[in-house]
Symmetry: C2
Subunit: 329 residues, 2 copies
């Protein structure tokens, strides 16, 4: 099934079930008012939501409305835990190669993961508001999953059963703030301002065989100002599957329902199908030409991120955002 | 005023107003069911909660109950944003000195801050459940504040007005997992499993002159197995006040209501009044004796953390926890 949150003038939005074609939606207040409430109680809500989904797809719901008539929020506008991995190690290797740094061997077996700010995920069509272009504004196209409660010390295999919802995200990065933050070793903070989500999250069954063993085997399209920057297949060269990422996050503590786990920038070896962020494009230029040519994003730039099924239908809806100058209040 | 959350078999607990002496409490369901709901709407709830507090202190509330008769949760059991600074740079300097590393000059002007897991803060009397003693279990006694909505780009001075609630916390750390995580530069993750909170949070006015310019000028007592490890004054040698920490966190994005900001381990120069974590005790031993003698915490160890006013009354109630072996489920 497909779920979304729509704007109802509350911080968490209103949970809706969305039809397969992403055209119709229906409120499910009697099952759960918010996405968090649904995932908090997934054992009970999943089946009920699934029934609504089937009826909506069958045209049997009378109080549905056009999805285009409402403002879409992030599916989970506020979450309690957001952990972003860097599972495509080929991407990390490339970035390091561009600055003549070796990749530690352990990076192939011990996942990189940082904790991100989850108090304000932004919607698929929300502006990316940044104060200063000089901070090096970049997109990062990723896969993300939402879990139910995960006990501490779970195995990678068991962790797979805790993946309840899947979507795509844009983990906005401020590249020029990263070197200073990483040198302090405390991780990203100011350099990771906003994360935006596709309009809908879907259950694993919705992806059929494209979702296998914690990987999503489809190309992820990133388009900047109308130009395709890349379409790497998210199922290829993912060194750590989502089960491994969740097990890493849960090694010393449990994870609560609604935890969002990200894949990191999707990348294929050799960048044969392009890139999922401008930093990678620039690294390729540095390696080939000796310097980066492609600039980071500027105010007014438009980034679109989408994943389609084999028939060309959008699975999660499109992330379609403009970068906008933030004016201090 | 003083507020707490008590166990009502929900994930977020039930908000209660607590009297000044920490003996009585009353539910305030008609004002806000949860702490998050109260802080989401602080402009409206603060005044109403304050009235209840005054009536409770005056003995005018008929449906109050003994605080000791209920199970206390963390004041905000799940939060959307948890950022922990390292504001007592003298502590950082000491830790680095013990491993013969210089302190970068920038550490005195550019705060260290990491994003922590906020999906399951634990209560003042909850066990610290850890799977493996060899991970190097340590406490960290800190001050923490909770903000309302903070706009991006706020100044340190303006940030002070966003501090609505104050308390003390124990940021449990797994010292032996830290070196590997820091070397990866992505920040702490597995090495910061649990954070526990004192029973109550208080509004700044409750602290009188002890709260000035974003610092809390009182000693913070840490007692391990009945032995006082330290009582440094939290208002002394705090290089960055809470206004500066909040401004740092809000540099590139806004912070949502209910954001928790921590001070980092409280420490005074020269550790003249002892330490707020075992890592510091061990660093002092290394510098003086050439090796660490004090072990990290073991299963069964008891850690108490408390702050008292000039009359010796507990302000936030006591953190009093035992370390317990976590058995995988």
């Amino acid at each position: 099934m497909k779920l979304a949150s729509i704007d109802n003038n509350t911080r968490d939005g209103q949970l809706v079930v969305v039809n397969k074609e992403l055209t119709k939606a229906v409120k499910v207040t009697e099952i759960a008012v918010t996405m968090q409430a649904a995932i908090d109680n997934w054992n009970e809500t999943e089946c009920k939501l699934q029934t609504v989904y089937e009826n909506l797809n069958a045209g049997k719901i009378t109080n549905s409305f056009d999805l285009s008539s409402v403002r879409i929020l992030a599916p989970i506008p506020r979450a309690y835990h957001w952990a972003d991995g860097s599972a495509y190690v080929t991407h990390v290797e490339l970035v390091r190669k561009a600055r003549n740094a070796d990749l530690p061997e352990s990076f192939w077996t011990d996942p990189l993961m940082y904790m991100g700010a989850s108090d304000a995920f932004i919607g698929a069509n929300d502006d990316i508001e940044i104060e200063n272009e000089d901070w090096g504004i970049d997109f990062e196209s990723e896969i993300a999953v939402i879990t139910n409660d995960v006990p501490a010390g779970t195995t990678a295999e068991k962790a797979l059963s805790h993946i309840k919802l899947i979507t795509i995200i844009n983990d906005v990065s401020l590249r020029n703030l990263i070197p200073n933050e990483l040198s302090k070793q405390f991780g990203f903070y100011q350099s990771k301002p906003w994360t935006s989500f596709a309009p809908v999250v879907v259950t694993p069954d919705e992806l059929g065989d494209f979702w296998t063993k914690g990987k999503l085997h489809l190309p992820l399209y990133s388009t900047l100002n109308g130009k395709c920057i890349g379409s790497p297949n998210a199922g290829i060269d993912m060194t750590f599957d989502f089960g491994q990422l969740i097990a890493h996050a849960a090694k010393t503590r449990s994870l609560m329902a609604g935890t969002v786990i990200g894949s990191g920038t999707v990348a294929n070896e050799g960048s044969i199908n392009g890139s999922s962020c401008l930093a990678e494009v620039r690294c390729l230029e540095i390696i080939k030409e000796g310097q980066a040519i492609t600039p980071f994003m500027r105010f007014g730039d438009q980034i679109e991120i989408e994943m389609k099924d084999e028939e060309g239908n959008s699975i999660f809806g499109k992330i379609n955002q403009k970068v906008k100058k933030y004016i201090k209040k």
